[in-house]
Symmetry: C2
Subunit: 219 residues, 2 copies
DNA sequence: CGCAGGTTTGAGCACCCTCAACGAATGTGG
DNA sequence: CCACATTCGTTGAGGGTGCTCAAACCTGCG
């Protein structure tokens, strides 16, 4: 099966652009190319490809992942508006990056990662490192319910802590991020729904009803 | 049960020091405190503690981990001689770090992670990031045999690619690193032994007999 | 309306965990 | 030096969580 994803979050670059993108990270200030547009499922870079850029999500969402030879996929991170990705140790990409939905991305060309801008880049890299290490705990030591609960709580936090959480990614993406199957993810969602912890207004959004229960489950 | 570990790799700081420690990483050159000694099981730093240092393993081995409220532990990384650890996003440690066996550590005090040395620190941080992301794939998508095989192969690589691999850590440490139980780790070891993929001269070392099979299993 | 993709739901099973006992290795005190 | 305690590692039996395989169900769209 192809990784090609086509679902219908309409591409509206102009009005979809969030208000808060400048000043979030200084390396993406004035001296930068205009944002680039990627439709849903479009590859941003591929494993083995030449690296050296840094990417900033303007709007939309991105998945970064690795593949095993037999096709098993592990998504190491989702990146939403305002977040940066694309760090690499050498000039070759070790991962794949794709737009999940219609996505705008600002590209910063780096002469080298041993750059004079390292002072600004390092904190971003470290945030990613801590994020990834926390995800290790989820994959290594938490069961299906805990993983999904942690995922919903995390997505809510990154969207401002509101009860209405938008999930741009498919169940398959969530499964490959949490180290589960789509069936298990689906079952946990419905179980949480039946327990009135969440509501599911539609396939791509979740409403958190019982915060406390959700956080207890996530821990 | 306590995390206290006491096994018998004799503390011999002077002759145990590896020949190749200078010049490995420039921030650890002349302007640094003398290496500090940690016996087996000794805490190097704790979650919630004040951070701001960077640590370089001179000899021995270190485990970095997180705990869940109920005591489940996930080791995010082992660090061997020549490797650096202790990066944090803010002034607080998000993880625990302990010496696995008798260990010598060189401490670099950083005024801030937004340091003028960021240009030298960034590549180290990025290596850690890629390492951790690759570990995600193992925890999220590989079965017990693949995890153990990948672990042995990785430890061999980091010790120069020799067939004789020293494992300073206990089975419990390996289990908490691979997201398994000690029983499963033990069973996989014996299964690999019976298939003549490895030999187990003693509890703390492995000899790789069939490289190709090991790598096929790890994939 | 009918197709296609994604999602949900179900039945059965496999892998790994839990619980338990045993064995091996080390350190201690008599 | 040997008995003992203690910790760690191995091995076994049984059960549970999550996976596999399969079918039905939406939902959006041509």
């Amino acid at each position: 099966m192809a990784n090609l994803e086509t679902h219908r979050i309409p591409p509206r670059p102009d009005e979809a652009r969030p208000a808060r993108d400048e000043a979030v990270l200084s390396p993406f200030g004035a001296s930068t190319q205009p944002p680039q547009f990627f439709p849903a499922g479009k590859e941003i870079y591929a494993q083995g490809g030449k690296s050296g850029n840094l990417y900033m999500v303007e709007f939309g969402a991105v998945r970064v992942y690795r593949l095993l030879a037999d096709g098993r996929r592990q998504i190491s991170a989702f990146h939403l508006a305002g977040e940066a990705f694309g760090f690499e140790t050498d000039s070759t990409h070790h991962f794949f990056a794709e737009a999940i939905c219609a996505t705008g991305i600002r590209v910063l060309r780096l002469s080298s990662f041993r750059d004079e801008r390292a002072g600004e880049l390092l904190p971003m890299a470290l945030r990613g490192l801590v994020r990834t290490q926390e995800h290790l705990l989820v994959l290594g030591r938490q069961n299906a319910v805990e993983r999904v609960a942690a995922f919903i709580a995390d997505m809510s936090e990154r969207q401002g802590g509101l009860p209405q959480v938008e999930l741009p990614m498919s169940r398959a993406d969530i499964a490959d991020y949490l180290g589960l199957t789509i069936e298990t993810v689906s079952r946990v969602f419905t179980r949480l729904k039946h327990k009135d912890v969440i509501r599911l207004p539609n396939l791509r959004s979740v409403e958190i009803v019982k915060w406390q229960v959700l956080h207890d489950l996530a821990a």
